[in-house]
Amino acid sequence: MSVKLLYFAWVREKTGIGEELIEPPGDVETVADLIGWLKSRGPEYEAAFEKHDVIRAAIDQTHVNHDAAIASAREIAFFPPVTGG
């Protein structure tokens, strides 16, 4: 099943795109799995997710940890720690 990925701030700059539709393989079950799979897709992804520990994720616009399951996700976003206010 395809899922929409969104990238923000320096994650967006490093991947070179703001959003894309992807179809991850079946063994990609969690956010951490997805990051690992994305990193294998090219040097720009490798660079964007190099510091994977600091990258935050949201599934369907709700903050999640990297161990969250992505099975029912329609939209997954990756971004640096937020700096609003």
Partner: protein
């Protein structure tokens, strides 16, 4: 109420709108965050800033601000609350964020305003890019912002 907008806001007008035709409010607290013209760099000196651009996650931003506002209203008895956050390119001196809280007595309004800002800082999906003569830098998140949340958790546990 929450608003996410590119346009500036008028603090006085927002206060007047919030209190219009009400006489049950005894205290109104406002917090305004503005763009500074200098950012600390790694050498500890200030880097001059000519522009700050705020990126955000449309949809999730509104959801998070509504969630934070709801949490404040569950925790304190507020007569009214308002969060306005801007996005897009801003200049030094420009307004970034406005929080207004109104309550019968001052403590709830003071505390709720600080709570809203502390949670907004760590969970609302905004990112600041500071631009100066040396180019642009994404602002790093501050550990002190995360630390600010622990006092609310501690206060809540103490109350339970």
């Amino acid at each position: 109420m929450i608003r996410v907008q590119a346009e500036d806001f008028d603090i006085g007008a927002e206060i007047e709108r919030l209190r219009a035709e009400r006489t049950d409010i005894g205290a109104i607290v406002t917090f305004t965050g503005t763009v500074r013209d200098v950012a600390p760099n790694s050498q500890g000196k200030g880097k001059p800033i000519s522009q700050m651009t705020l990126e955000h996650y449309p949809g999730m931003t509104e959801k998070e601000l509504e969630r934070i506002e709801r949490a404040a209203n569950e925790r304190w008895t507020l007569q009214a609350s308002l969060i306005i956050h801007r996005y897009g390119p801003l200049k030094p001196g420009d307004n970034i964020v406005l929080v207004i809280t109104a309550s019968a007595h001052r403590h709830a309004a003071f505390e709720a305003a600080a709570f809203l800002m502390d949670y907004l800082k760590t969970s609302a999906p905004f990112w600041k890019m500071e631009e100066g003569a040396e180019g642009g830098d994404w602002v790093d998140a501050r550990d002190s912002d995360d630390a600010a949340l622990t006092r609310w958790d501690a206060a809540k546990k103490a109350a339970e």
